[in-house]
């Protein structure tokens, strides 16, 4: 098991989304709500739309209003995961056959993991092109149904099933640990700006954490007490994701809880 695992980085925009505002209360908007009628100075960005008369910008999601330059965005508070090429996600093997593994990646379609995407390039291909058994049959023995994998998404679009790979840094089968899942839109908050929140969680609870974009978090600690505290903290972060000054508050919470529970 690798000791110093980095959390998966999402694009930089995502981090800023939550932390950029310095106001105390950020406006919660709901679908259909008018955000602004000033269409000359603002443009509709993510999660917003112009109405038919083009004199109002309205929200499409339940989320927080954010103004960036002259764009108005709505950062969703609820939603589902849409796979994008390059994402590293935690997958659960739900089915396998000689051609592919079927993986649950918490998206609308199951991911496809083909044996050719589980082999590292440059490996010697058996003795002079192979022996009696077909190589693919051997390769599908690699993972079992119920295994937890960390995979990278190779291709994903609206129509086709996403294709996965286990070749790369930090990718492959996970042994041991616990996987929990939270709402995917709240993942940037668990990571924090430049990974501040996740660093704090790692230092205070002495746990290995691996956060992925599809809302699943793998964690493993020294003992069950630490793991339990970490899980409770993550649930708390998810439920308070829309509030300000969360990192400081969480730090205080964990230190207090550690004293209360009598763990180092």
């Amino acid at each position: 098991m690798e000791e110093d695992e980095e959390s998966v980085e999402s694009d930089d925009e995502e981090f800023e989304d939550f932390e950029d505002n310095e106001e105390n209360i950020r406006d919660v908007v709901v679908p259909g709500e008018t955000i602004t009628e000033d269409v000359k100075n603002y443009l509709p960005g993510r999660g917003t739309i112009l109405n038919k008369e083009k004199n109002k910008i309205i929200s499409l999601n339940i989320g927080l209003k954010q103004i960036k330059k002259n764009y108005i965005n709505v950062i969703p508070l609820r939603g589902f995961y849409t796979p994008r090429p390059g994402d590293k996600v935690i997958a659960l093997v739900v089915d396998k056959n000689p051609v592919k593994y079927k993986c649950d990646i918490n998206a609308k379609d199951f991911g496809q993991l083909k044996p050719k995407n589980t082999m590292k390039k440059g490996r010697t291909k058996g003795f002079r092109g192979g022996g009696g058994t077909s190589r693919e049959e051997i390769n599908t023995e690699k993972f079992d149904i119920g295994d937890i994998l960390v995979v990278k998404i190779l291709s994903a679009d609206r129509l086709n099933k996403p294709e996965l790979t286990t070749v790369g840094k930090y990718l492959g089968k996970k042994v041991g640990g616990i996987v929990i899942s939270i709402d995917p839109p709240k993942i940037p908050r668990v990571i924090g700006r430049d990974g501040s929140m996740i660093k704090m969680l790692k230092n205070l609870t002495n746990c290995n954490i691996f956060v992925t974009q599809n809302g699943r978090i793998w964690l493993k600690g020294e003992n069950i007490a630490h793991e339990r505290l970490l899980i409770e903290s993550i649930k708390k972060i998810a439920s308070e994701a829309h509030t300000v000054g969360l990192t400081d508050r969480m730090q205080e919470y964990i230190i207090n809880e550690k004293k209360k529970r009598g763990i180092e």
């Binding site: 499409l60 609308k108 509030t243 300000v244």
Partner: protein, 261 residues
């Protein structure tokens, strides 16, 4: 011999003091209570109490379509399942979906569909399950209202919410929000739904008799009443988050005060 109780309606649907049988004014709604996020394992959920109506709605999706032949290659499908509990009405309701259930499922789906961006999710389905626990008139309107709320809670992009309400004529007077007995004994029943994106009418059904001029008056009446319903919907969605925001600010201020001392 089974006990047969015949439906008996009162002669007057107004009391002597000019109010309706349940003590409401002509333009008064029944008490409405809404809540979101009530069912943990659903993607989105909502609960509604509208007078004596008690309705749950849950949303799942986007997910694969079952049976698979219903999937469309160019857009997603919205499927609504309206069901009534056997104990929701006075006589036991047979649990199998009948003509009425299928009709209401269809009108609720047609009512909400123009608000969703289904073309972004080809080959998938969004499923809304509406379960009526207690029914007392106007469940189709209440179901539409609560289904929109559950979809918004699931984080599915929508152009706006939709609210619905029945207006009607009882004893020659125009009233809003018909209750069960007014619905059966009254002269006309007129359910209306409005999508707040461009304020378009998304559902219009009619039963009874009235003339064209009266119909226009009813539309204005319904629109005014629906604004109140919409306001309650917005509050139900927001209150969960705003409450937490205020709490955290309060505790922060308290901590600052302690630090100063």
């Amino acid at each position: 011999m089974p006990l047969i109780i015949k439906d008996e309606y009162p002669e007057n649907l107004f009391r002597e003091d000019g109010k309706r049988l349940d003590g409401r004014d002509v333009n008064e709604l029944r008490p409405i209570k809404m809540e979101v996020g009530v069912i943990k394992n659903a993607d989105g959920s909502a609960y509604l109490e509208w007078g004596n109506n008690k309705i749950f709605a849950t949303v799942y999706g986007p997910r694969e379509v079952h049976p698979h032949h219903l999937a469309k290659p160019d857009k997603g499908v919205l499927r609504v399942f309206y069901r009534m509990a056997t104990f929701s009405v006075f006589d036991r309701k047979r649990p199998a979906p009948g003509r009425r259930e299928k009709e209401i499922s269809m009108i609720v789906a047609d009512c909400i569909e123009p608000l969703l961006f289904l073309e972004l999710y080809p080959g998938t389905s969004f499923e809304v399950f509406i379960e009526v626990i207690d029914a007392d008139g106007g469940t189709r309107c209440a179901s539409t209202t609560v289904a929109a709320l559950a979809l918004a809670d699931a984080g599915i992009p929508m152009k706006s919410l939709v609210s619905a309400l029945a207006v009607g004529k009882i004893d020659g007077k125009k009233v809003v929000d018909l209750s069960g007995i007014e619905d059966k004994a009254g002269e006309a029943d007129f359910p209306i739904a409005i999508t707040w994106y461009n304020e378009e009418i998304s559902l219009l059904q009619f039963d009874g008799d009235m003339d064209l001029e009266e119909m226009n008056e009813f539309l204005d009446l319904a629109k005014n009443a629906l604004k109140d319903v919409h306001q309650i919907q917005l509050e139900a969605l927001k209150s969960k988050y705003i409450k937490l925001q205020e709490e955290t600010i309060q505790t922060k201020e308290n901590n600052d005060k302690k630090g100063d001392e």
